[in-house]
C-alpha cells in the first residue's frame, strides 16, 4: 500500500447529534457542516461539549442520537481505527517506549506501508514540524512544544483528509503557543486537509480559523467567521465570549424599526426589533465608543449619549482604555485613540456612539468571562 499524497479535505456533516451520559445531556441536538479543506474551530467554555463532539467524530464514543457523515458516508458504525482521521491531543499521547521516528512511523506500520516508503514519509513529516534532527530521541527527552510537534507529525504522516485537534496547545506557555499557531496554520495550508480545532481561547480561534462554532451548554450558539461573530453576534453569550464588550441592561420599547432601551434613566436606541417579551440588552464594543466631556452632545451620528464617571484609565500605547461607571452602577469599557489630555479618574464624562454600532440581543443571562 502506498499513501495518497494528494489528500483533499473531507466534508463533515453533523446532523441532529446528541450525547447523553445517564441522565446528563452533554450534547443536545447539534447540527453542523464543515466544508472540505476548511479550518473550523470549536470554541466554548470548558464543559460545553467541544471534546464530546470531537470524540464522536473520531469514533472514541458512541452517538446517542443523530448521524455523522464524512464525505457523505455515515460513519456511525465505523470503528475509530478505520476512520482514517488524524487526532492531536492536549496531552500529546506519544508512545513513551518508542523513539520519535517510531512514533511517527506507527500509523504507517499499521497500514502496512513498505519500509522505504515509511522512512521517506516519516522524514518528510518530521521536516514539516522542523524536528528532522530529533528522530532518535525518546518523548521523555523532548520539551512540551517538541512533543506536540511530534504528535502533529504523527497525526498527519498518513495524510488523513481530516485532522482533529483537542486543545493541542493548552499545556504550553503563551509564547510557544503563538509560534505553534502559525505552524499549524502553515501546515493546514500545505496539507489541504480539513482541520477541526478545539479551544477555549477565543484569540486562538480568531487567529486560526476560517469559521468558528461557538459551543455553550451542549449546544452550538452560532457558526461563522471570526468577523461575523465579532460584529454580528446572534446571542449575548457569543457577543460576550468573543472579544471585549460591555452590556447595557434596561426596559425596552419598540420604536419604529428600532428599539428604545431605557438605561439608568437615559433612552438609547438600538437597531432592530426585540424578539419576544423577555429582557433585552445592548452589546457595545469598546472601539465604537467615544468618551467626551459632559454636555458635548451628539456628533458625527453618535446620537446615543449616556453620562458616567471615569473609574479607571489605562494607557496602552496606541490606545487608551477607559472604564466608565454609569448611574445604575454598571461598567462600560471604551477604547479611544491616545489623547494628549486624558480624562482623569473620577471626572464626569459622556459616552457616545452611533446607534447602529450597538447590538440588540435577548438577555440570556450570560455574563462576561472567557473561562467557563
Amino acid at each position: 500500500m502506498t499513501l495518497n499524497t494528494a489528500s483533499k479535505g473531507a466534508a463533515i456533516d453533523i446532523r441532529g447529534v446528541s450525547k447523553t451520559y445517564g441522565s446528563f445531556t452533554a450534547l443536545d441536538d447539534v447540527s453542523l457542516r464543515v466544508e472540505p479543506g476548511e479550518f473550523m474551530s470549536f470554541l466554548g467554555p470548558s464543559g460545553s461539549g467541544k471534546t464530546t463532539t470531537l470524540n464522536l467524530i473520531a469514533g472514541f464514543t458512541d452517538l446517542s442520537a443523530g448521524e455523522i457523515r464524512l464525505d457523505d458516508r455515515s460513519i456511525g458504525n465505523v470503528p475509530a481505527h478505520k476512520r482514517n482521521i488524524g487526532v492531536v491531543f492536549q496531552h500529546y499521547a506519544l508512545f513513551p517506549h518508542m523513539s520519535v521516528a517510531q512514533n511517527v512511523a506507527y500509523p504507517l506500520k499499521q497500514r502496512g506501508v513498505a519500509k522505504t516508503e515509511r522512512a521517506r514519509a516519516v522524514d518528510q513529516a518530521l521536516q514539516k514540524v522542523q524536528l528532522e534532527h530529533f528522530s532518535h530521541r525518546f518523548p521523555s527527552e523532548l520539551s512540551g512544544g517538541q512533543q506536540q510537534r511530534v504528535a502533529l507529525a504523527r497525526a498527519m504522516v498518513f495524510t488523513p483528509s481530516l485532522l482533529l485537534m483537542d486543545e493541542p496547545l493548552g499545556a504550553l506557555d503563551k509564547k510557544l503557543r503563538e509560534v505553534l499557531q502559525l505552524e499549524i496554520r502553515r501546515i493546514h495550508r500545505e496539507l489541504g486537509s480539513t482541520f477541526v480545532y478545539v479551544t477555549h481561547d477565543q484569540e486562538e480561534a480568531l487567529v486560526l480559523s476560517d469559521r468558528i462554532a461557538v459551543f455553550n451548554k451542549g449546544r452550538i450558539e452560532q457558526v461563522g467567521s471570526g468577523h461575523q461573530l465579532y460584529t454580528r453576534p446572534e446571542t449575548l453569550f457569543v457577543g460576550q465570549f468573543i472579544g471585549e464588550s460591555s452590556v447595557l441592561r434596561g426596559n425596552h420599547l419598540t420604536n419604529g424599526s428600532d428599539t428604545a432601551l431605557t438605561v439608568a434613566g437615559t433612552t438609547l436606541i438600538a437597531p432592530g426589533q426585540a424578539q419576544g417579551d423577555g429582557a433585552h440588552v445592548i452589546l457595545l464594543r469598546p472601539e465604537n465608543l467615544t468618551v467626551q466631556p459632559t454636555g458635548t452632545g451628539a456628533r458625527d451620528g453618535a446620537t446615543n449619549i449616556i453620562n458616567g464617571t471615569v473609574r479607571e484609565m489605562l494607557y496602552l500605547g496606541a490606545a487608551m482604555k477607559y472604564e466608565v461607571t454609569l448611574a445604575d452602577g454598571s461598567h462600560v469599557i471604551a477604547r479611544t485613540p491616545t489623547q494628549d489630555e486624558p480624562f482623569a479618574i473620577g471626572s464626569a464624562v459622556e459616552l457616545a456612539w452611533n446607534p447602529k454600532d450597538g447590538t440588540l440581543l435577548a438577555d440570556d443571562g450570560s455574563t462576561a468571562g472567557h473561562e467557563g
Binding site: 470503528p79 481505527h81 488524524g86 491531543f89 517506549h97 506507527y106 500509523p107 497525526a155 498518513f158
Partner: protein, 262 residues
C-alpha cells in the same frame, strides 16, 4: 566526644532485629557443610557430601526437577491468566471490578491448610492427586494473586489514553495491545511471573496433601526427609534454594523498580 546513648541503643536494637531476621537462614549454610550426619549447630567437621548427595540421589534431584517444571508451568499459566484478569478488572469501572479482584486475591489470605483440605477433597474425586495437572492447577491458584497485584499496580500508572491514540492512528484492539499496552506493562508482568515461579517453587502445605511417591516436589521431599531422620542434605538444599531465590527476587525487584521509573 560524648557518647550518644539513645543513638547507640537504636543501633543496637536494629542490629539485634537484623540478626533475628536472617539468623535462621544463615544457620543453614554452615550446617550444609557438616562432616557427620547430624543437624547439630554448630556443625562438626567439614564435607561437601550433602551437596553431592543432593545432586546424585534421584529422590532429591528428581524432586528438584519436578519442582522446577511445575514452577515454570505455573509461571506461564498464572501470568497469562492473572494478566488478563488484571486488565479486565482495570477496565471494569465501579464495584464489580473490586469484587472480582477481592475474589482472585483470597488464596493469599485464606490459611494454606484450609485451602489444602479443600483442594485435596476435590482432587480425590477427580483423581488429580499426585499428577502434574494437579500441582500446576493448585499452585496457579496460589500464584494468581501475585500476578494480579503486580500487573494491576503497573496498569494503575499506565496511561490508557495511549490506547485511544493508537486507535486514531489505525491500530486495531489486538494490535494496540501488543504494540502499546504490553510493552508498557511488561515490567509488572515479568515481576508477576517471577513471584508466581517462586510461589510455586517453595509451596509446601498444599503440595504435602496432593503429593504421591511417584511425583514429589522439592519442599515435600525436604519435609519428609526432616520427619524421617536428621539428614544435612536438607541444609544443602536450603542453602541452594536460598541462593536461587535471592537471585530471582533480586531480579524481580530490579524489574519492579524499572517499571515504576518509566
Amino acid at each position: 566526644m560524648k557518647l550518644n546513648l539513645p543513638k547507640l541503643l537504636l543501633g543496637l536494637t536494629c542490629l539485634l532485629i537484623a540478626i533475628w531476621l536472617v539468623a535462621p537462614t544463615l544457620v543453614v549454610i554452615p550446617m550444609s557443610f557438616a562432616g557427620q550426619k547430624s543437624l547439630a549447630f554448630p556443625p562438626k567437621g567439614f564435607s561437601l557430601q550433602w551437596y553431592e548427595n543432593f545432586f546424585t540421589n534421584p529422590q532429591w534431584f528428581g524432586s528438584l526437577i519436578v519442582s522446577a517444571k511445575v514452577a515454570c508451568m505455573v509461571a506461564v499459566v498464572a501470568t497469562v491468566v492473572g494478566t488478563m484478569a488484571a486488565i479486565g478488572i482495570e477496565r471494569m469501572k465501579g464495584r464489580a471490578g473490586g469484587l472480582i479482584r477481592a475474589v482472585l486475591i483470597t488464596p493469599m489470605i485464606v490459611p494454606g491448610v484450609v485451602l489444602a483440605v479443600g483442594i485435596y477433597a476435590v482432587y480425590l474425586d477427580t483423581q488429580l492427586v499426585g499428577t502434574w495437572i494437579g500441582y500446576v492447577l493448585a499452585h496457579t491458584l496460589l500464584a494468581i494473586p501475585f500476578v494480579v497485584i503486580a500487573v494491576g499496580a503497573n496498569l494503575a500508572v499506565f496511561d490508557a489514553r495511549l490506547e485511544i491514540a493508537a486507535a486514531s492512528l489505525g491500530a486495531s484492539r489486538l494490535s494496540t495491545f501488543f504494540s502499546v499496552t504490553l510493552p508498557l506493562i511488561l515490567p509488572g508482568i515479568l515481576s508477576g511471573a517471577l513471584f508466581a515461579f517462586v510461589t510455586s517453587f517453595d509451596e509446601v502445605i498444599v503440595s504435602l496433601f496432593i503429593t504421591s511417591p511417584q511425583l514429589k516436589t522439592l519442599p515435600v521431599q525436604i519435609f519428609s526427609s526432616m520427619t524421617r531422620d536428621a539428614d544435612p542434605t536438607v541444609a544443602a538444599v536450603g542453602s541452594l534454594i536460598f541462593l536461587g531465590t535471592s537471585v530471582i527476587i533480586g531480579l524481580g525487584l530490579i524489574f519492579g523498580m524499572k517499571g515504576r521509573r518509566t
